[in-house]
Symmetry: C2
Subunit: 485 residues, 2 copies
Amino acid sequence: MAKRTAVIDIGSNSVRIVIYEKTSRYAFHLLREDKSKVRIGEGAYKQGGMLQEAAMQRAFETIEEFVTIAKSYKVRKILCVATSALRDAPNRDVFIKRVSSRLSLNIKVIDGAQEAQLGGIAVANMLPPNNYVTIDIGGGSTELASIQNGMIVEQLSLDLGTVRLKELFCDEGRFDDAVAYIKNAALAIPPSYLNRPIAGIGGTIRAVSMAYMRYIGYPIKVLHGFSYTTKAITLFSKKIYQRPPQELKLLGIKSERFDVIDAGTLIYTTLLEHLQAPEVTVSQVGVREGRFIQDLLRHQRHMRFPTPINPTMQSLIDRYIDDLEYVKNLKRTALELFDLLHEKLQLPVAYRELLGHAATLSNIGVELNYYDFERHSFYLILHSIYGMSHRETLLVATLVRYHTSKEPSEAFIQKYKTLLPKLKEIKGLIYLLALASSMLKANPKTLPFEVTWTGTQLHLHSLAKNHLAIEKLKRLESPIKIIID
Amino acid sequence: MAKRTAVIDIGSNSVRIVIYEKTSRYAFHLLREDKSKVRIGEGAYKQGGMLQEAAMQRAFETIEEFVTIAKSYKVRKILCVATSALRDAPNRDVFIKRVSSRLSLNIKVIDGAQEAQLGGIAVANMLPPNNYVTIDIGGGSTELASIQNGMIVEQLSLDLGTVRLKELFCDEGRFDDAVAYIKNAALAIPPSYLNRPIAGIGGTIRAVSMAYMRYIGYPIKVLHGFSYTTKAITLFSKKIYQRPPQELKLLGIKSERFDVIDAGTLIYTTLLEHLQAPEVTVSQVGVREGRFIQDLLRHQRHMRFPTPINPTMQSLIDRYIDDLEYVKNLKRTALELFDLLHEKLQLPVAYRELLGHAATLSNIGVELNYYDFERHSFYLILHSIYGMSHRETLLVATLVRYHTSKEPSEAFIQKYKTLLPKLKEIKGLIYLLALASSMLKANPKTLPFEVTWTGTQLHLHSLAKNHLAIEKLKRLESPIKIIID
């Protein structure tokens, strides 16, 4: 049984659970996610933050069900954090004790700085590296963290939340007051947060971004890592803000979010404007994943996965690669060919690492079905890898998809054209992977050819019989002259 | 380490290897397939079948490489069969002894009847049930088997093969003589084979069918189980027969098949005409899979998987389902709802079994990525299940894809319209699966509701708190009235 951990997160709007499975020391993947719109803070904002009994009971029973779910997955531990609703509640101990005594579950109430920190940890480890400012819009509060070189250097919590604003202003139609309130809160943001790329966290940003993604017909159906300009999302948000339910439904927004979407959109766009942020990258991960990673890396000095480990890629390797020795040989061979030929093929050196990833992941689709496994590998890579940009992930997936024979079709190029590099570069990289995989057709543990590049031709000196490899190499359409002996 | 078996098949045109992994007693999936166009029978047809030394050496070295590949997969056994080229060769013992003494591999030369039998076993177990006549066009011979109620009742081998006809006639442009030869050979086919649905086996039929599939823009990229009328394929074959390489390439036919495609197409269409066959279903499996299944079922009385086991579905269950108890509960619940509501929803009883499959497989996509797992489950089901028709597999996959919330999109319906039932029926089935999965939102081991159908409304009496389930049920768009208490 692999090690599994559940994280329960008690927010003001909803209570959520995630369950992760570790497949090796630093590799994990999500097994389950669920939420219930418990709204534990309901009615509290106008009562000095006092939790109401009905809301507490609802929350208790939901957490009880989540614990049952966690147990059905045989998790080793359940981590439980609570954010602003409990933070602000004078009577929170009543609730905490009830959960602790009846469910043996310890709720850790985290302050705003810790909450911002957890979102930052998740983003710093799971989005493509950048000096982001994270924005995590919740039901009761909004957290910001400033990331520099993978470390969280500042954090901030604002009393801005979707449920809070809904109850204080929006329910009474006082939208102008809501804007003034947000702008006032935003004054607390230090200048160091301005003009930075944003990483967007939380249900509001996910809902708005998902609607935008559908609206523009974005070709990759993965929200995590999706990015857009502030200008574009601000314009698009007018299709959401103060619009009737049927319009929201057409945009693909789920009905359970309708009642807080106005407050959420308002906070989001007002903050983006205030921050003078050029662009946003959406994060599917936040406080829960941050808490999980914090626990996973508790013996590390920094809250960072050791370079060059990518936890999601490692998880694919753990789960889908059978013959690791062959894969390492393939990667080594592909990179050796890259080093010999990249100038001739006019391939930027930046692609070297991506070619290595493609070699590593080239066969993972076999697990789904051997026939057409290249297409299944493509599908797996595109939907499972975090920590690289969509452009990078797509390029890796594309090399894998086409490395055994055919060229990318016109329809394929057309579909992904906004995210792909020049066709000539794609073809050059595909060729290198095809060449490496042909030379290793018979799954040897070492490279059965001696390879030299004369500057005009590639000389492959066969160190064994290599019938299968040579048969394959002879059929390969090659942009450079190959001599096999 | 799961149990793995390799099968090497020495044909007249190519030598092939498949490697299968068993995940439970009757469940297996393909790990690897490879072939080399060894053409062991090259030059033999005009020499009384005598194998030529160069061809034998080529075959030996290729088999040696295949054995290395098999060992790299740590297979427990290697089964090796040889068909017409060795069958016809007076000097075959030279070759068999060489392989046996140097590679410790025993080649079993099978006669035509056994070869037909193996193809029949593969088809009877891996295509949707039907009283097929199988046609397996090889390099040296063509086998036919007659299947009745899952058993092979007759078999036949004809000296018709692509390499044989190429060397005897086509290379010299004597196409009319080739046709006469085929027609003459076909006279040996008994009348009991006529007017029957065909299961098409072998590289020629796969190549022609794949080209046709692409040509018509068939929406499912799975060759196994693809079916068409004799009329359609006969018409299409004119685009292949005696056409220049560039036209073949445009049709997606691989260059290594160009030299035998004329002979192959001629045998295929002439036999279909002679057999007066109404339609063909393509089989991706044949002699190799038949040999593997024969070995797998060697202790059974009949060469049949016990009902209701579907080896490919069982393999998905073995590899992708973690909480089998939950899945069984979901299936039971979905079927119970079907029994209560199928009349009201006007759902044919034939869909009951497919709904059960959908319930069983509804969560398998989580293994790929939790987000959008319904879409990943759809993808897995569509590409991995054999033994059902494409229509059935697609329906199962569609129910899974849409059971958590959204309706099938217009684009989806449009793409698959030729293979889907009425939208109303799809929606009814999706609804039942959605209802069952909502009731079991918290992964209980039993159904936490008492369900009654009054004829006008569905009464769900809650046997526990069921917060998560009730929250989900209330959001479900329901075509019938539901009372929850």
